[in-house]
Symmetry: C2
Subunit: 415 residues, 2 copies
């Protein structure tokens, strides 16, 4: 009976466009920071929508919302569909939003089709995923998964010094549901935020995990000199040294193709005057790979290359690793169910590693978790021009629906 079930594409798209009005920007994006007045509006809208299809909403001490649809066996932990409704200050209409609203659409579809699942289904709106108002990102899912303490979560402050708990109470978003209840599984639909699916003509990315990340800060110190009076052989050009670091970062990433990534994204050149040989340059390096061990090899290769550059050019170098995030590997069963659901619909798929962090990266620590990516135009995200097609979002929602139903069947069989 459920095998031919599909979401209502128009209704899903319409809910995305309707909620996009909460915090809409003139350029077609959304500015809906966590726990803002517009966040309160979308949260109220979501509560009304899920209650209309027979769900009850509970809220935890971090404001995360759990819309629960009962199953036959309510002793089973729910199968969760989670993402977030907060956005960047100049965010788009899709990042996070489609994951929650696809969950809503699934609740609606199950409701109107009169389908009873074995386990309860829970659609979750995780608070403050973006980290744009309260750093770090994925704050509420992190507290849920025990990565951060509740005190830590509550005490985060925004740029105006307003604490998380104060802002949460200010919009009445605090709840009393116990923190960190068990989940049978957690699925998240999200736009890719990168160009791979679009470039390869794939509709569905079966996310294998989140890659390992290392961040570095470096300072290259040479000697300021007059651009007209300092012979090349006597120069200590810090910017030339950093140019070689940029080249080396690129080389190390490409030596670990196709998954290795290396980026020098930030550079501050001093004194930054057109007729002065630069004497000091600050720079950052962002190094990523899905495999921790490979990233460790890249780290060694990068450090060797950078030290060699500094020594060869007579430059003084400091290079500090400022952040490390280990790789996340999603649950194989959940991934297989996503893959199978996509096959049923005939969607072209590919395994893909998430470049960015997501709530699922933390929830993966406490429940079997996996993610579904759909393409976004040009890979553009965290941008008001962020764009995805109705067909792709619908495809993702259908895969999400059937991955959830397959998980439910598996639970029914083992129960």
């Amino acid at each position: 009976m459920t095998q031919n079930l599909a979401v209502d594409s128009a209704r899903l798209w319409s809910s995305i466009m309707e909620t996009a009005q909460f915090g809409a920007t003139p350029k077609g994006g959304i500015n809906r920071l966590a726990l803002s007045a517009d966040d309160a509006k979308v949260r109220a809208w979501f509560k009304t929508a899920v209650e209309a299809v027979g769900c009850t909403v509970s809220i935890d001490a971090m404001g995360s919302m759990f819309a629960r649809r009962p199953g036959r066996n309510n002793a089973l932990p729910p199968i969760a569909i989670g993402s977030h409704l907060d956005t960047q200050p100049t965010g788009g209409k899709f990042d996070g939003v489609i994951g929650v609203l696809a969950g809503l659409e699934i609740l609606r579809r199950l409701h109107e089709a009169g389908i009873e699942t074995e386990a309860p289904i829970e659609v979750i709106n995780w608070t403050n995923e973006e980290g744009a108002r309260y750093a770090p990102a994925m704050l509420a899912s992190g507290v849920f998964a025990g990565v951060f303490s509740l005190d830590y979560g509550h005490s985060r402050a925004d740029r105006d010094g307003i604490r998380f708990d104060t802002a949460m109470d200010g919009i009445g978003a605090r709840g009393d549901a116990p923190l960190g209840h068990p989940l049978s599984a957690h699925f998240e639909l999200h736009i890719e935020q990168g160009p791979i699916l679009e470039e390869e003509g794939c509709t569905i990315g079966v996310v294998s995990g989140v890659q390992s990340i290392r961040w570095y800060e470096g300072t290259m110190i040479g000697l300021d000199g007059h651009a007209g009076a300092t012979p090349m052989r006597l120069r200590k050009d810090a910017l030339l040294g950093v140019a070689r670091v940029i080249e080396a970062t690129n080389r190390v990433a490409r030596a670990h193709a196709p998954d290795g990534l290396g980026t020098v994204g930030l550079i501050e050149n001093r004194p930054n005057s057109r007729n002065v040989v630069p004497g000091e340059v600050f720079f950052t390096i962002d190094l990523r790979h899905p495999d921790d061990a490979t990233l460790a090899q890249m780290d060694v290769a990068l450090r060797d290359a950078v030290a060699e550059i500094a020594e060869a050019d007579g430059l003084a170098l400091t290079l500090e690793e400022t952040w490390t995030a280990p790789a996340v590997h999603f649950n194989p069963d959940c991934r297989a169910r996503i893959e199978a659901a996509a096959e049923t619909f005939g969607y072209k798929t590919r395994a893909i590693v998430s470049g960015a962090g997501h709530d699922s990266a933390y929830i993966n620590r406490v429940a079997p978790t996996a993610m579904i990516f759909v393409p976004c135009a040009g890979g553009l995200s965290h941008n008001e021009a962020e764009s995805a097609t109705e067909a792709d979002v619908t495809a993702g929602a259908n895969v999400l629906l059937h991955a959830v139903l397959a998980t439910d069947r598996a639970l029914a069989e083992t129960a």
Copy 2:
């Protein structure tokens, strides 16, 4: 009689230290912008000093001061010793100053030794050489040489909107001497403002000219991308492209060793965020060589290299040449007299090209001209820590003295 004549080292040094009080900074430098109150003080001090040794001071319509010591044949155009007493806002005690005060010391020495030259001697304080208050630099010597019109010179405005002529009248620095009178020769003693003489243990640089300069502004345009979600093969990293431009600029300069110079001194990276692949980078290039034809070859090599980089990386590039200054070649006779004078004293010399512009570069257009460089510590200049030794400054003044006397003998022979 004049063959063993030498300047009074202690007196010269003392005059440098005494005038350094006009605009002295806490860090031991000088802040004496052109036509400021402190400039007025040093100008008055200079006038008193030269009048005390029998000179008369005339001033032209740009405020340049001409301290004239008569000769036997006053129909001959004077032999000039010129430089400047204005400084950068955080300037040192030597740049420009030693050229004028060595001239004063020579006037004093000739006076007390009772030496009568054939031609008059003129020590010149050129107004606003630095360009720090009124751009462009070398403004008054440029007007004197007919490079700029008097109207142009008068109408320059500082950052507060104060015109050059207004500031000049404000300190009573305008004179009525005819503009651009003939000079038999023009000699200028200056610190090198680069590290070559110090590095090679030379006392005297015989300046062959001022190198040719080309300035460029470029913008490399790629595509912003998420550092975690954009595979290396799909990137259009504008900063990586500019890193290669920096490397190419260095390579082109070194391919024209030892005189070729190439510098990327200014770079602006956008969006300059540590987890974003840079989408747009603005940069400048400063290319120099003593020979115009060689610099033209460097220009072609650079343009080819930069275009190739942009094309290979799929980046869009604009590269504009914003300024060109042709090479200046000083007068061979004047250079030979400097060389001969240095030999007499046994100073170690080397031919050297000036990396920076000087009043002599313009005066060279209207009179036989040459320059003498002396070392400055670490090549540091335009800096309050600028430093030169008494021995080196004295050596430069002695060479200046004897180059002037040799020029005078030559004039006497041909007269």
